[in-house]
Symmetry: C2
């Protein structure tokens, strides 16, 4: 335990000045189990998917064929809880605030530590997250309403079919951000530079064209108003692989809990393709 | 005269296999006075504006402040009809199929040769043209309805004010292309790479937000249908400087005639910023 850690004995949010590693060490020590949005600003956060190796090949094939909703930014060796490319000190069994354990597609436990569930045949996937591109948008002066409201982004199942692989198949899930048209154009430019965190939008304008009947009733997250001078802009979303895994009902899987991400040592700017 | 030129004594269109210089030489010889769209494919075409030097500084300032509608890709010395950066053999007095001569904002002549109007105080501006980015869009497989119809692109005056400079001021004129949303996103990526030929769109979606009351009645060019599964996408247009010059009513000016552009030796790909 680090006596210097700014911990006051409660689940107070770690300070925004803490390094990614310092935040992970607080989490590893059981001192923080909350949402990670806004922690270690400037650094990449990722979704976590852990599967037995007999499903890992199919899942990697699914990701390869669906890079916009499922951009793999970290991949472990079989049985290893390490992803050195994202941070040499990362231990995937302890360093996320909360995990979900799934059996046959059913959520069976939500835990702050998965050491008791670890197996030698597990393969871990870290999947890019829109937090990275949202930071780039905000830094460019583009307002994001869900951030301003402190809400979760609105997400919707679409009629865009993912390319299937083995048992993994299903529709693409998208997140929606309402933007003024000039901001939408700028946001397309900015997010095009970040293919590893969902990249450019997949759709804009009429939601019905991608099978969304009502923007006011998202399938995940919180609804957000679209003003008359705004256009809804839709990005492929990391919830897609989670929904696909849930539908595939693997005998065993572990994921992060929603909003409780892996904080990596990579800077968001390092995810830029150019 | 080049006896090898594929000229049959009429104004037949030059062959698409001719080099930019070969096309210019046919035009210089008076053998072609038609539209230049589709000639010397792969090479940059430009709008031409010629002004007395006492207005040239203000016009260059206007262009500098409004780079999206008025991207200057070539600039002559005072009194010179040459723009070596765009082609060593170019003579701006003879190498465009048709010119318009203006006095006090009034069109006074349309000619195929302006040697008789040349003056030692003239400065020439070559301004990038959407032909360059349209070629990139078509090569990427994005359909452009006005091209498929053989029509001129639809253009509209907007309520977006250009930044004024000296006597040059007025609203931005935009061109509109209806695109499916995914193609619109891809078109924003592609045209962002071409800042010297208008670059990324300035608007998409609701035309009323930029002061366009009715897409069916363009201010210039031909109307084109926008289908239910399409979104109108608006680019800054090279007609803007022409409209601004007409409104400023300079004592003397020469421009190209609509559709009758300067064909340069630069390749469209060389206009890409990255």
């Amino acid at each position: 335990m680090n006596a210097q850690a700014p911990w006051n004995g409660t689940d107070a949010r770690p300070g925004r000045d803490l390094s990614p590693e310092a935040v992970r060490m607080l989490i590893r020590a059981g001192r923080y189990q909350g949402a990670t949005a806004g922690l270690a600003p400037g650094y990449v956060q990722g979704n976590l998917v852990i599967l037995p190796k007999d499903l890992a090949g199919d899942f990697l094939a699914f990701a390869h064929q669906n890079p916009k909703p499922c951009p793999v930014i970290g991949l472990s060796d079989v049985g290893s809880p390490r992803v050195p490319a994202l941070g040499p000190s990362i231990d995937l069994r302890t360093d996320l605030p909360r995990y979900r354990v799934w059996r046959n597609g059913e959520l069976v436990a939500e835990l702050s530590d998965i050491r008791d569930h670890w197996r030698d045949d597990l393969v871990s996937f870290v999947i890019g997250c829109s937090f990275s591109f949202e930071e780039a948008l905000l830094e460019d002066g583009i307002p994001l309403r869900h951030v301003a409201c402190g809400a979760n982004v609105a997400m919707y199942r679409t009629n865009i079919a993912c390319a299937p692989a083995g048992p993994f198949a299903g529709p693409m899930v998208v997140s929606m951000r309402p933007l003024k048209p000039a901001d939408a154009i700028r946001a397309i430019q900015i997010t095009s530079r970040f293919p590893a965190v969902h990249g450019a939008p997949v759709h804009l304008g009429d939601p019905a064209l991608i099978g969304i009947a009502d923007l006011a009733t998202p399938d995940y997250g919180d609804p957000v108003a679209v003003e008359d001078d705004e256009i809804p802009v839709f990005w492929a979303c990391g919830v897609t692989p989670q929904a696909v895994i849930a539908a595939a009902k693997p005998a065993f899987a572990i994921t992060h809990a929603p909003g409780s991400m892996l904080i990596t040592d990579k800077r968001n700017s390092q995810m830029s393709a150019f």
